[in-house]
């Protein structure tokens, strides 16, 4: 059997009339009519994505202003030129993806899992190229400080992002949670790169990068908790 024959059968089947009980339609129309009023549509997707990028930049910069720009000051121009554009690209991708997840029927340019995986691996690769000091002095104590600072800034970025997109509607809350967490995590990582003067490769690769997957996991858990039906 050829494809066109199947097409023909499906076409015939699709043409068969399919009526909906008029009483159901009347009920729907009445319910909608009782609360019908003009609504303000969401701003364009590019404006929302731009807003999210600005939020991330503002949170990272605010954190670095408070704690000091030791990281960016101690890196060479070339190193800065590699690290921050990569972070910028990842933030733009995550912001676009988050807006897409909050507007039904949007084109999905990158899957949330792929964004998180590729983003984490991309950051690890950049860190591996930039940082060659493999010392592990005060690995855990300094690491926990950085991880905490990164997570706190990510929380701030996540809350502000949610406020901006609170009028959106996530048809796939888990995916939206992962993307929102990834974006918030990237804001935390950016703050750490601006601030942290510890250039030991194990420190940066573990404690800085970990902010992103941890935030994504938190986002997914929060989305799951929010969508779980109450008993």
């Amino acid at each position: 059997m050829k494809d066109w024959e199947i097409d023909e059968i499906l076409k015939q089947a699709a043409q068969a009339p399919h009526d909906v009980d008029p009483a159901v339609l009347d009920r729907v129309a009445r319910s909608i009519g009782s609360s019908l009023g003009p609504v303000r549509p969401l701003p364009p997707a590019w404006a929302l994505a731009g807003g999210l990028v600005l939020i991330c930049a503002a949170v990272a910069l605010a954190g670095a202003v408070r704690s000091g720009f030791y990281g960016i000051q101690n890196l060479s121009v070339l190193e800065n030129a590699l690290l921050f554009p990569v972070l910028g690209i990842l933030i733009c991708l995550a912001a676009t993806a988050f807006v897409g997840e909050m507007i039904p029927g949007s084109r999905r340019r990158v899957a949330p899992g792929l964004l998180l995986g590729a983003g984490s691996l991309g950051l690890l690769a950049v860190f591996a190229i930039l940082f060659r000091d493999y010392g592990m002095e005060q690995f855990v104590s300094q690491g926990v400080v950085c991880l905490t600072a990164g997570l706190l800034h990510a929380i701030a970025a996540g809350l502000a992002s949610w406020l901006l997109l609170r009028r959106g509607f996530a048809v796939n809350p888990m995916a939206a949670g992962v993307v929102a967490g990834t974006l918030a995590g990237l804001a935390g990582v950016t703050m750490l790169e601006l601030h942290c003067p510890n250039f030991e490769a194990p420190h940066v690769m573990l404690w800085h990068t970990a902010v992103m997957p941890l935030c994504a996991a938190t986002g997914a858990l929060l989305a799951r908790a929010a969508t779980r039906p109450r008993k």
């Binding site: 015939q12 089947a13 399919h18 319910s31 549509p41 969401l42």
Partner: protein, 178 residues
Amino acid sequence: MARYQRGDFAAATALIHRLSPQMHRFFVVQFASRGDADDLLQETWMRIHEVRHTYRVGEPVLPWLYAIARHIRVDHYRKARRAAAREERLEEMPEVAAPLPVRSGGTPDLEALLAPLPQSQREVIKMLKVSGMSLEEVARATSSSVGSVKQKAHRAYETLRERLSGEKLTGGRTGGLS
């Protein structure tokens, strides 16, 4: 849709009457029960009404609408599964033979025709062939890539080909086309 967003009741009613049959069919194809489909249709319209501001004028309506309908369907499916898990089955249900995919008038019955397909393939075929959506629109509605939609459609055709050819060989009727 833009008029509906501005609060025009006539536009809202026209939209409901125009789009409900295909949405209802979308639910029937998934659940094969008109009662469930009626409930889901109403629930979908209520949700559409709540989030109508998320539609962006100039964008295609169907992907937006089906994305919301899918969300309602998935929600319903989860609730149904949870309820089923709590119910204690006394004995195994006897296996029921699949009905022949033919309506009384000789027209192929879409619901029965698509019944052997997995849900993800069924919805893709329904959107492509019944709602007349493009691959790009189906990809938007299902939050997936065009490649993934193509793959699902291809697999669905393979299954349908196998089934319809089998019926042809055994002398079964396939919508009056064999």
